[in-house]
Structures are given as C-alpha cells and as structure tokens.
C-alpha cells in the first residue's frame, strides 16, 4: 500500500514539468498573449480589457498559480476561436478518441504478443524471419501512408467499409465498429511492430531458462509451456513496452483522425494548432500527458501481480 502511494507521488513532479511547459506555451510564443487571445482585429482597448479580465497583467507566478487552481477545478478556459468552454469541447470529442485508442490497443496486444511468442519459439525459422521483417516494415511506414493504403482496397474500390467518418457506440454499435476498423488497424501497425519485437526478445530469454526445460520434462504440451510457463515470466518487459508505446498510439491517433475524418481530440489538436487556439492546445496536451502518465502508473503497479519476486 505504501508503495502505491509512493508511486502516485512520484508522478507529481512529472506532471509539474508538463504543466510548466504547457503554461509557458502561451507566453513563449512571439507576440503579446492578450493580443493573440483577443484576436487579429481587436482594438487596443479590447486587448487591454482582455488582458485585465484574464489576469495577464499579473506577474507570471501568480498567473501560473491561478491557472493551476482553475485546472484543478476542471476549468480549462475558453477557446479563443469558438468561445466555447474548452472542457466542454474536450468532453464532446473524447468518445471517438477513446474508442479508437481502446480498439487499437486491443488489436495490438492480441496480435503482437502471440506473434512475438511464436517467433521466439521458432527462432531463426521462416516464421521468425517473417515476423521480424513485418516488424521492420511496420516501423517504416508512417501512419497516414498505411491509412491511405488501406482505404483503397477496402473502402474506395470496394464498399466493404466506410471511407471516413464516425458513428457513436451508443447510437449504432455495428456501424461504430465498421467505421473504426481501418483507422484502428492503421494505428496498430506501428505498435504491433514494437510489441512483437519486444515480446520476441523477452521470450527468447525466457525460453532458454531451466524451468522451461523442466516444464517440458513434465510432459507438458508445447502450447502450455509457451503460454502458461514462459509468457508470464516474459511479461514484465512486454508490459513496460506497452506503456511506453502508448505515446506512439497517441501520435498515431492524432494523425489517423485527420486521415479518416474522425471528430476526436486528435482532430481538435490539429485544428487548434493551425488556429493558434492556445487554451485548447494547452488542455489537450495536458489531457494526453496525464493519460500517458496514468497508464504507465497502472503498469508500474501491475508488476507485482505479474512477478511475485518483485519486492517494493
């Protein structure tokens, strides 16, 4: 229990750094923050008004504290572009992004881990080389290339799947799935390459251990040896790689939402960048970073479950 607390506390400095970085985005960019927020056509009087009302005339550290306090209360400010509270904008768009992320991770884990395990088991065979080749290819194709490449045969030439767009899960699960198939596969490919490699490396090391030999000596079939005995021992590095790879997934989601016109947080990011809508940019970076930190925290805490030897 004490360890759990300790790990949670350890994430605070990290979030603090992110917060400082995000906060300074507005103040580091060229130009007067108040002018940027007030808009291109604002008069000097309006700019001054904006400056006061947003507290931009206060010293920096005060601004920072005010900003953090508002964050803690869930107030991410208001979009410069559309005047809607940022919190509301985010909530509106969180479902598609979550769906895409969740599906991608599901696909990745269920494909990459068995692939990597089998590649390790049949090390240096044709299957192994094939899996490794696929992994290298997976790393080399940018996400949007894969997205477009998939679009052609599955959506444009045939009518198997919709080309773009998104349907909510709560509205129509079947169509929700159909709209997400191609995007999730695009996002997963890079992640699968990474996790398959990591699984293979970790399993190779485990498979050379004595207890695997003992398992064989007991007469267990190969599948049991591989997935019951070996895999759990190999899991710590694999799970760690999954945690780190979440950053890749988030990047992939941002791009894929653009390619497939999915109205999620990724799309919002891109649009806000182009419009220099700072409050939104800040909020999204914070949300994604927080998600990343949270997932890695959970993974950290899961180590004990996976390997009882680990002592805190």
């Amino acid at each position: 229990m004490r360890y759990v607390l300790h790990r949670i506390l350890a994430t605070l400095p990290v979030m603090a750094v992110v917060a400082v970085f995000v906060f300074s985005l507005l103040h580091l960019s060229p130009g007067d923050p108040a002018a940027i927020i007030a808009g291109e056509f604002a008069s000097p009087a309006e700019i001054a008004r904006v400056r006061v009302s947003l507290g931009l005339d206060q010293p920096l550290h005060t601004q920072f504290l005010v900003w953090v306090t508002r964050l803690a209360q869930g107030d991410f400010g208001t979009s410069i572009f559309s005047d809607i509270p940022v919190t509301r904008m985010i909530l509106q768009r969180v479902e598609p992004t979550l769906s895409l992320t969740f599906l991608s991770m599901l696909i990745t884990i269920s494909v990459a881990v068995p692939l990597g395990a089998i590649a390790a088991w049949k090390a240096n065979s044709i299957i192994d080389r094939l899996v490794m080749a696929l992994a290298v290819f997976g790393f080399s194709f940018p996400v949007f290339v894969i997205g477009y490449l998939l679009m052609f045969p599955f959506a444009i030439w045939t009518d198997l799947l919709p080309v773009q767009g998104y349907v909510s899960l709560f509205e129509d699960p079947a169509r929700w799935l159909r709209h997400l198939v191609l995007p999730s596969i695009s996002v997963s490919l890079v992640f699968i390459a990474l996790i398959a490699r990591m699984t293979r490396a970790s399993m190779l090391e485990v498979l050379s251990q004595d207890y695997v030999r003992t398992a064989h000596a007991k007469g267990l079939p190969d599948s049991k040896v591989l997935f019951k005995h070996a895999l759990q021992n190999a899991s710590v590095p694999i799970v760690t790689a999954i945690g780190i790879g979440v950053a890749l997934v988030i990047g992939g989601v941002v791009v894929t939402e653009t390619v497939f016109a999915i109205p999620g947080l990724g799309r919002l990011t891109v649009d806000s960048i182009l419009r220099r809508d700072y409050p939104v940019i800040q909020a999204i970076v914070l949300v994604f970073s927080f998600a990343y930190v949270l997932i890695n925290l959970l993974i950290d805490l899961s180590y004990k479950l996976l390997d009882p030897r680990i002592r805190y």
Binding site: A123, D210, A217, K218, Q232
Partner: protein, 351 residues
C-alpha cells in the same frame, strides 16, 4: 571422506544379479551441429538400469553424461543437437521411435528427471502447489482440488514441514534444500519407473547434500524406482549407487559394481579420478599433494583416432594412439575400454 568399500554407506538392498533392466540405452549417439564443427557429445554409449537399483554415471564436465540423460527424455535442444544413432529401450519400446505425443505421455509420468539447480529449474512465478499439481492433472486426470491434496501428500513424503503452507508459496521463498525436495516431489508424484537425477546435489550446501541423497535412496526403496544418478562426484556415487558407469569424452570407459570399481579400478582415467580424491591420511607418503590427471578434457569437436584418453595417459603406447580400445569384460560385471587393463589388474585378472 575416505573411499573404500569398507567405509561405504549401504546403498540399499537390491537384487543385483537377476533384475530385468527397465531402461536400456544402446549405442546412443547425440551430436551437436554447429557452424564450425560437429560436436559428438555422446558417441556410442550403452548402459542399463533395473528396477529398484541406482546406476551412477560419473565423469568430468563435458564428458556427455548429462547429454546422455537428456537424450533419454528427448529433451535435446533441436536446432543444434540431434540424436543420430542408437536406441533407448524402455521396457520393449524404443523411445527414439515414439511420436512426440507418446513421448510426452511418458515424461513426468513413467520416466522423470530432476535437474541440477533447483532455483532456476522451478518456475519463479508459479506457486509450488500449482507446479506440483500440473503433472498430476495432466497425467492422472485429477481435478485441481484433488491434485492439490496429492501435492500436499507428496510434500510430506519428501519431508517438507507445513506442506499446506508451502503449496501457496513461491520458489524464491524456499531454501535450496527445500526447492530440491519440491523438484523430487514433482518428479515422483506420478510414481515413475525411472528417475534420472542430473547432479541433484551439486548446487546445494554440503550438509543438505547428504539429506537429499538419503531422501532419494529411501524413495527408491519405497517406490522401487530405477535411478540414474549423474554426477561428477565419486562420493555421491559411493553413497547411492550399486553399479557405476564411467564416461570420458562422450564414451563409456568403464563399468562395474560400485565396490569393485572402488577397490579395483582398471581404466587409467578411473584410477586417476580415485587418486585425485583428497584424503586425510596421505597413503602415498607424498606430503599430501593432490594427484592430478595432467592435461585437459579434449574438445569433442575434434576428430579422434585412438583412445580419447591417450594424450593424458601415463601408460599410453603406440596402439593406444592409433586404435580405440573396445569394451572388454575384465571380470564378472566389470567392463573396461583400455588396451592395457591387464597390467592394472595385477593378479586378480581373469585368466
């Protein structure tokens, strides 16, 4: 410890003369095919073991004794290694011709193996109970609860205290001796007919070694298991085996009843091993210096003509370097592969 037949502990009653062998290894050849050379780890070895007896297989590291044992259960890692010749008869079946599914049915069930290092040989993320119960569930079709009860019984049989508690523990929570007991329990839980013990005490403290050996002896008597005891330690052989096979460079160089071997070793290598045992009473009057066998074990990849021990043998002659000596029966149940064994036999040789 001083080695002589008088000081040996009784390794247990057994009908030595007439027992029908349960396991017969005949002319086994296991080779490893690496990029640079073919390593002939086991190059024509034969031995057999009968019900209720312990056969000791003795030799230095690298002589092929462990590989011969792994070959019996066909656990040789197959990309580099392969069993290229011979047969292994278990009752009347040749194990080398069995399909893998039948081989797996035998493993852990009618032929079991225990390994040298119990810490690395037990799965660190599974509880003791789970690992023990696995073979029972697999081979005897027990349910999980039944397997757990049986597992507790097995732990009692190997003299582990508080068996119910141990079932829920992980290997790293046990001491070295306890872990080896768990391995023994795992190997014997289906009451196998053959137990192969590959250096079971090498990784343990000296005090624990004796306990483990005694445990194996007792269980052998109780269950009538045939035991193949692989070791580099002549002391272990003295304590547990009725018959001994000495291996060198992938071949058998001598085989005898254990008292006979210790009293009248005939092969220069065996004699060298005996002489190298440190003793408190320096019989040779040499000032207590350890006798050693000069030279090193030959690389098993190099092609060999002649006796593989010839380069290190003080008594080697021309024929020794040119032709490999065949196994001859020097006395009753005592075979040796040496051109000059008669010179060592003194007047006890057969006419």
């Amino acid at each position: 410890m001083t080695i002589s037949s008088a000081g040996m502990q009784d390794a247990g009653p057994v009908a030595v003369e007439t027992a029908e062998p349960v396991l017969r290894v005949r002319d086994l050849q296991t080779h490893f095919f690496t990029r640079d050379a073919v390593v002939r780890a086991v190059d024509g070895v034969s031995y057999e073991v009968a019900r209720g007896e312990t056969l000791g297989v003795v030799g230095e590291s690298g002589c092929g004794k462990s590989i011969s044992a792994l070959s019996i259960l066909r656990l040789i890692p197959s990309p580099p290694g392969r069993i290229v010749g011979g047969e292994i008869r278990f009752h009347d079946q040749n194990l080398l011709e069995l399909p893998m599914s039948e081989m797996r049915a035998l493993r852990g069930n009618r032929i079991s193996m225990i390994f040298q290092d119990p810490m690395t040989s037990l799965n660190p993320v599974m509880t003791v109970g789970a690992q023990l119960g696995e073979a029972l569930q697999l081979h005897q079709g027990l349910s999980r609860a039944e397997a757990e009860d049986q597992a507790a019984e097995m732990l009692k049989m190997v003299r582990i205290s508080e068996p119910e508690r141990r079932l829920r523990e992980y290997p790293h929570q046990l001491s070295g001796g306890m872990r080896q007991r768990v391995m023994i329990a795992m190997a014997l839980c289906c009451k196998p007919e053959v137990l192969i013990a590959d250096e079971p005490t090498t990784a343990l403290d000296v005090t624990v070694q004796a306990q483990i050996l005694e445990l194996i002896n007792d269980l052998r008597e109780k269950l009538g298991t045939a035991v193949v005891m692989i070791t580099h330690d002549l002391g272990v052989v003295a304590e547990t085996a009725q018959r001994v096979v000495v291996m060198y460079a992938g071949r058998k160089v001598e085989e005898a009843l254990v008292e006979d071997l210790f009293d009248n070793a005939l092969h220069p290598y065996t004699r060298g091993l005996m002489a190298a045992i440190p003793s408190h009473a320096p019989e040779s009057g040499d000032g207590g210096r350890l006798a050693e066998i000069p030279g090193i074990v030959p690389s098993l990849g190099a092609a060999m003509t002649g006796c593989s021990f010839a380069p290190r043998c003080a008594h080697a002659t021309e024929v020794c370097h040119n032709e490999y000596p065949p196994l001859e029966e020097a006395r009753s149940r005592h075979t040796v592969a040496c051109w000059h064994w008669r010179e060592f036999a003194g007047d006890k040789a057969r006419p």
